[in-house]
Point group: C2
């Protein structure tokens, strides 16, 4: 075998990065695989668009006809970096049916249709790799599937969205409000003009669904994930977090206990001595806990042209090695079990709760009483006088079932002494050895 030919679906940011890395590191890659790995065709929407000269001379490789890749017997590996769901899914299934190995960076697709895609790959003895779909350049899928394969994984928890981590980092460092910081992030290109998928946590939800599926060996889809974004986090919450020894981060969290899993995305208070607390700006990190390995963390750039291309090209190399050695489709879907996904009311956590209350004697006792009656025990209470006879009360609870906290908050919300339940944020990452 002299050359393994690759077809690329899409030539946006990631596609361009893949072309550049395959070209600039062709020598290294040839050494590692045993033969050349070359781009044969690239599917684009508009073949006449002017392309960056950094891509080299690719004019003859450009096509707007997907079948030139999907039905091309010369092409062994199809790289899907076009994004979107339905068309990408059709193309990938088509490629797999034609016996082509597939590398995708498409978290939306994998987190929704993973099962269908893996079944198709398995049926056709094809590789289907997706390292780039979670946390960009950070190696996390393969380490989970291979290096840590001997562990029973208890917990996977990560900063897996750079936009929100950038916003929260800036809010923390500059003491500014969310809206202002979002505008700045947008002006710097760190947030999109419609930032919904990032700031509401949907992007992170797709990634944690993928990680949970691999870690616990059970299919978790995007729809299984409980999601809250960061839009309610205020400068005031961040101030309290600092005062109490925490950072606020948007985490994807997946845990398994007694064969039940919980999978969620929401802002958390995380102690400043936790390794995730100092992962700042657009950096991502995934923290994994297993019965043998203990605590481990994977850190790096979770997005961008080259980091994402690093993951895609790593997968292309793996598929190429398998092709070269005539042994593809070895490690496919690892969801052997069917575990129940817990409802959010059934998870346990500590909670930060900020209330605005009437400032008069006995109010704190009443509030504490409500929590006590709902089995919510309090770890710490800070009360600050604000103005107009109002006080702000900040509570941190002990670990408690979320349902109990919700019940207590419902009662408090109906009480005349409570002006406002200003915010509720879960606390994660405490009680580390």
């Amino acid at each position: 075998m002299n050359t393994i030919k690759v077809g690329i679906l899409g030539l946006g940011t990631v596609g361009s990065g893949v072309v550049k890395v395959l070209t600039q590191n062709a020598g290294i890659i040839r050494h590692k695989v045993g033969c050349n790995v070359e781009v044969e065709k690239i599917l684009v929407k508009n073949p006449d668009k002017k392309r960056s000269s950094a891509l080299g001379n690719i004019t003859h490789k450009i096509t707007s006809d997907a079948t030139e890749i999907l039905d091309n017997p010369e092409i062994k590996i199809v790289v899907e970096v076009m994004g979107g769901i339905e068309v990408a899914r059709d193309y990938i299934l088509h490629a797999l049916e034609n016996g082509k190995h597939v590398v995708t960076a498409n978290k939306d697709l994998v987190s929704l249709y993973g099962k269908e895609l893996f079944n198709a790959a398995s049926k056709n003895k094809c590789d289907l790799f997706f390292e780039a779909s979670v946390a960009g350049g950070i190696p996390i899928i393969r380490p989970l599937k291979e290096c840590l394969a001997g562990n029973k994984i208890y917990k996977v928890m990560g900063i897996i969205n750079g936009t929100t981590n950038y916003i929260l980092t800036k809010m923390t460092k500059e003491g500014k409000q969310y809206e202002e910081t979002l505008l700045k992030a947008q002006s710097l290109g760190y947030a999109e003009s419609d930032p919904t998928a990032d700031v509401e946590g949907y992007d992170a939800a797709r990634k944690i669904a993928i990680l949970a599926s691999i870690a616990f060996g059970t299919r978790v889809t995007y729809q299984d994930v409980y999601v809250e974004g960061i839009t309610n986090i205020t400068a005031r919450d961040i101030e309290y977090a600092k005062e109490l020894g925490y950072a606020i981060k948007l985490l994807g969290i997946a845990k398994e206990e007694h064969d039940e899993v919980e999978v969620r995305v929401h802002p958390v208070f995380i102690p400043t001595n936790h390794p995730l607390s100092s992962v700042d700006d657009v950096f991502n990190a995934v923290f994994v806990e297993g019965d043998a390995v203990g605590e481990t963390m994977f850190y790096g750039q979770g997005a961008g042209e080259f980091p994402t291309a690093s993951a895609v090209v790593g997968d292309i190399i793996s598929a190429s090695r398998n092709i070269y050695h005539g042994n593809t489709g070895r490690i496919c879907c690892t969801c052997f079990e069917q575990k129940k996904v817990k409802s959010i009311e059934d998870i346990t956590s500590e909670f930060y709760i900020r209330l605005n209350v009437i400032d008069r004697p006995g109010v704190l006792a009443s509030i504490a009483g409500v929590f006590g009656n709902q089995e919510v025990s309090l770890a710490s209470v800070v009360q600050k006088r604000t103005e107009n006879h109002k006080a702000e009360v900040v509570l941190i609870t002990h670990r408690v079932k979320e349902g109990y906290v919700r019940d207590a908050l419902k009662i408090l919300d109906g009480m005349s002494i409570v002006d406002e339940i200003s915010n509720v944020v879960r606390v994660e990452g405490g009680n580390r050895k």
Copy 2:
């Protein structure tokens, strides 16, 4: 295939961990491999020694005769966790010649005889895996060989010795001297009674030799590594480090530039905003920089029964998958090139230099003059009066060739105004984007 049988050489801490993890997670492992993976025989020195009940009933598996493993046709995978060099080497070569796949945790061996072992593995189409030889449970070898395979790696730099990181962390947090902290580390079992291999950096040197070989695709052996330990680091140096915005860490450092590599182990000043600076206690972390992925870091427990067993069992699973799919010996030695290893005089770095000098007018100018004449430019200077007309001068240089600094120090050492060159520590990890 119903069962893949494993022979284990050695039943110390790591061997025991491997037996326990293979047993407790047998179900998970069977799912992932496609068949059972079972321990068949365990080589020990003293078969009559009482073993922990946590190992289960292993009496019938114990042997003191290595050939019962090495020449046993039933056994497909040999796990070498006995340590030492010559005997381990003979056993591994014997196993490979018999077509057995080998998993080893032996950094001493791999960093010295890697080439010979990989050649033997390659000749026999056998797998030879050694994830546990560097940084215990942290996945780093496979991520480098596979996930990051598309990168040109520029730099690998890590805290890869838990003992010294524990000592430096305690010295930093408690302001205590080295000797006292070492005694405490010994009493807690974090340092051995003869701590030489750890505190002099020899252990870290073996690991960075292995990492450099993989990262740069050129064979780097233990003998190529420049090594300094932590025994000269004083509480006073740590105090200055803090004052100047640094932490002191013992790092293994490997870099490549213009097809030349530098590989070294020594204490460094590292800026407190660098991700490695907050890796404390016995934790390890490896920081990798590549042209596509940018900065990435792998964090976790670098030693201990279960973390190390996590890496060994991950390798056993990989070898088992390869056996199950009839495709072993695919990714072997990746040292395709022969790159020159630079001498320490030729590396460039910033330097922290602490001097004791006579406190009289003009002294600082004379010292600065010496550095200037040797092409060493100074980034910052702190002078403190001590007592008896002596002053302490602390300098941080700009990036400069080490040879020039050594020349300057030789001249200073001969000057009557210089009482003592108290310490010189390289500065790493500055100038990050």
